[in-house]
């Protein structure tokens, strides 16, 4: 493996971002965490477009996805990814406040890899995010990236 794959974190809320990054930081992960603030930005990142035009690196190791986001929400981004052959197999973990059954059902129907409800208690939250980072960025073997960008090739 030439470089560690990145973690794409899609989160619009500053506080949540702060807490999530803190939690991920406690893992001492070597993977770079790319932060996008809504679904549209995430979509641009995945496709190397907009502000991410000409970025290097391929698909992220995992996309940590909040459901409630402006412009393009989490479920919409998930739907777009699963309909696109380039991102169909990229692991996506929904990380949300909602415990709504309809969200859970809808996410799994769209092909999410995991659905995690952010616990209110911070120690539990830290634990959950730490585990997620460890599992998806270190333990899990991501699908081979068949759609390398020219710059990476």
């Amino acid at each position: 493996m030439s470089a560690l794959k990145r973690i794409l974190l899609a989160e619009d809320n500053d506080n949540d971002l702060d807490l999530t990054l803190t939690a991920l930081g406690e893992n001492n992960l070597a993977n770079e965490v790319v932060v996008v603030r809504d679904g549209a930005e995430a979509w641009d990142f995945l496709r190397h477009e907009g502000q991410f035009a000409g970025r290097n690196g391929g698909n992220p190791a995992v996309v940590l996805l909040d459901l409630k986001m402006p412009k393009v929400d989490g479920l919409e981004l998930l739907r777009r990814m699963r309909e696109d052959a380039r991102f169909k197999t990229v692991p996506v973990v929904v990380l949300t406040s909602s415990r709504e059954e309809s969200d859970i059902v809808q996410s799994y129907k769209l092909g999410v890899n995991a659905f995690v409800v952010k616990p209110v208690a911070f120690d539990q939250f830290i634990g959950a995010v730490k585990n997620l980072g460890l599992f998806w960025a270190v333990l899990n073997e991501p699908p081979p990236d068949r759609h390398q960008t020219p710059s990476h090739a």
């Binding site: 949540d16 459901l67 406040s97 909602s98 415990r99 952010k118 209110v120 911070f122």
Partner: protein, 478 residues
């Protein structure tokens, strides 16, 4: 409507034919018997008259003992072929002359017999004394055949039978014509009734203008059909209106349900996020600034965290409660005994360090939503476990009994109990009879229990006293 066994037409014809035939036969019989009797009287009269005349003519022959004259007198009987024999006897009863002249002995008796007329077999016999000026001279004997009477009777019978036969034919024709007039309106009415009952077509009318009771019946029937038709269209209109209103209400209800769902979604998502932040940053602050804070400061931070966590729990519980009222029930057969046992096994894990005696009575299988019923048992049993924690030898019992067509399940503990004055508050949302520093809880468990049980069509209630334990009951319809 099943086909009738016989028709009213047949019945009418039969009645008329029976009546007319019986009347004709009776009249015929009376007529024949009357004719027979009068003809017989006429025959007797004729023969007696003839005997009178002959007796008067025979006086000379008898007085002068002249048999030839007597034979000649008797010979006058030739004019009447019905007279088969005649004889004159003298005063001493000896045969004096006969007719025909040489009559066989079986035709003429040895003695004239008693005076008067009599019937012997198929013959009429008359014995007439021959008297001249009060002096008896002998007896005249006449024997006449009754063949004529028989003939007359035969002819009468034939005439009568012919008359009866002819009359029966006429009666049949007449009654067929008459019954048509009577039966036609009835048949039309029956046809209308049949089409009403078979096709449920209330628009048909008999339209029979008969001037008798059938006409009244037809009119009444038509009136009834008009009324039924009117009511049916009324009901249809009401139904359509009702359906329209139900549809409108359903849309309204769906809208408000959607709003409620959106609200609960928003609560679940948006209210929990700030709580998480409060707890998160309080925790981070604790990590970074703990060495700079004194005990009091650390205590405040701890309270911030605890309050945020508690509110998180409250929101979660409230969401469960609201979901219990909205989610669809999936009713199946539930083995309540096994379910209760599962819950008890789970709770035993939380009470390892406690001395609790669990008792499970006989609980039958019930109809209900297994997930919801599990929540009921979990709430009741964890309450029992929680409120019996100060008791050294805690005892928790579950049993069930049938009562008035419902199953009553009781969960009993020997814990701290409650003040029965506040029983009515037990099942309210966020209602607690104990301080949260005494027993933990959000006060939503029993509200959930009540909501679930009432959605199953059952009731919930409780009995208890302070420090004497509590019994919580719920019923499920069978």
């Amino acid at each position: 409507m099943k086909a009738p066994r016989t028709t009213i037409q047949r019945k009418l014809i039969t009645a008329m034919m029976l009546t007319s035939t019986a009347v004709l036969l009776l009249v015929g019989a009376v007529f024949v018997s009357h004719d027979f009797n009068s003809f017989r009287r006429f025959l007797v009269q004729t023969l007696v008259t003839r005997a009178h005349i002959l007796a008067a003519n025979s006086t000379a022959a008898l007085a002068f003992q002249n048999p030839e004259d007597a034979s000649q007198v008797l010979n006058a009987l030739k004019t009447d072929p019905s007279v088969v024999a005649g004889a004159l006897f003298d005063q001493r009863g000896r045969l004096f002359a006969t007719y025909p002249m040489r009559a066989a002995s079986e035709e003429v008796p040895d003695e004239p017999g008693p005076t008067g007329h009599r019937f012997e077999g198929s013959h009429l016999i008359v014995s007439e004394p021959v008297v001249e000026e009060g002096r008896p001279l002998g007896t005249l004997y006449l024997k006449s055949s009754l063949e004529e009477l028989d003939n007359r009777l035969r002819v009468d019978a034939i005439v009568m039978l012919l008359a009866v036969g002819g009359s029966v034919i006429v009666a049949f024709v007449l009654s067929t014509w008459l019954q048509r007039r009577i039966a036609h309106p009835i048949l039309a009415l029956a046809e209308v009734a049949r089409s009403v009952s078979e096709r449920k077509d209330y628009s048909v009318r008999s339209q029979e203008a008969s001037d008798d009771e059938v006409g009244i019946l037809s009119e009444a029937f038509d009136g009834m059909l008009t009324e039924i038709q009117r009511r049916e269209s009324e009901i249809r209109l009401l139904n359509a209106d009702l359906e329209r209103r139900v549809a409108v209400r359903t849309v309204e209800l769906e809208e408000s349900n959607k709003e409620l769902e959106a609200f609960s979604y928003s609560v679940s998502h948006d209210l929990r996020a700030p709580l998480r932040h409060i707890d998160g940053f309080a925790e981070l602050l604790m990590r970074h600034a703990a060495p700079m804070l004194d005990e009091k400061g650390r205590g405040h931070l701890g309270k911030i965290s605890a309050a945020a966590k508690r509110m998180g729990t409250l929101i979660d519980d409230l969401l469960v409660f609201s979901r219990m009222g909205r989610t669809e029930m999936r009713k199946t057969s539930v083995n309540l005994a096994a379910l209760t046992n599962d819950v008890i096994e789970e709770l035993k894990g939380d009470a390892k360090d406690r001395n609790v005696e669990w008792k499970l009575g006989t609980i039958p299988t019930v109809q209900g939503d297994p997930n919801m019923l599990r929540l009921v048992m979990t709430n009741l049993l964890s309450n029992a476990l929680k409120y019996s924690s100060p008791t050294k030898e805690a005892r928790i019992e579950v049993d069930a009994r049938s009562n008035n067509g419902e199953l009553v399940v009781a969960v009993r503990d020997n814990g701290v109990g409650f003040d029965p004055t506040y029983t009515h508050k037990l099942f309210g949302v966020f209602q607690r009879l104990h301080g949260s520093n005494e027993f933990e809880g959000t006060g939503i468990g029993l509200a959930n229990v009540r909501r679930i049980v009432s959605r199953h069509g059952g009731r919930t209630w409780a009995e208890g006293a302070i420090n004497e334990g509590a019994t919580f009951y719920f019923s499920l319809p069978k």
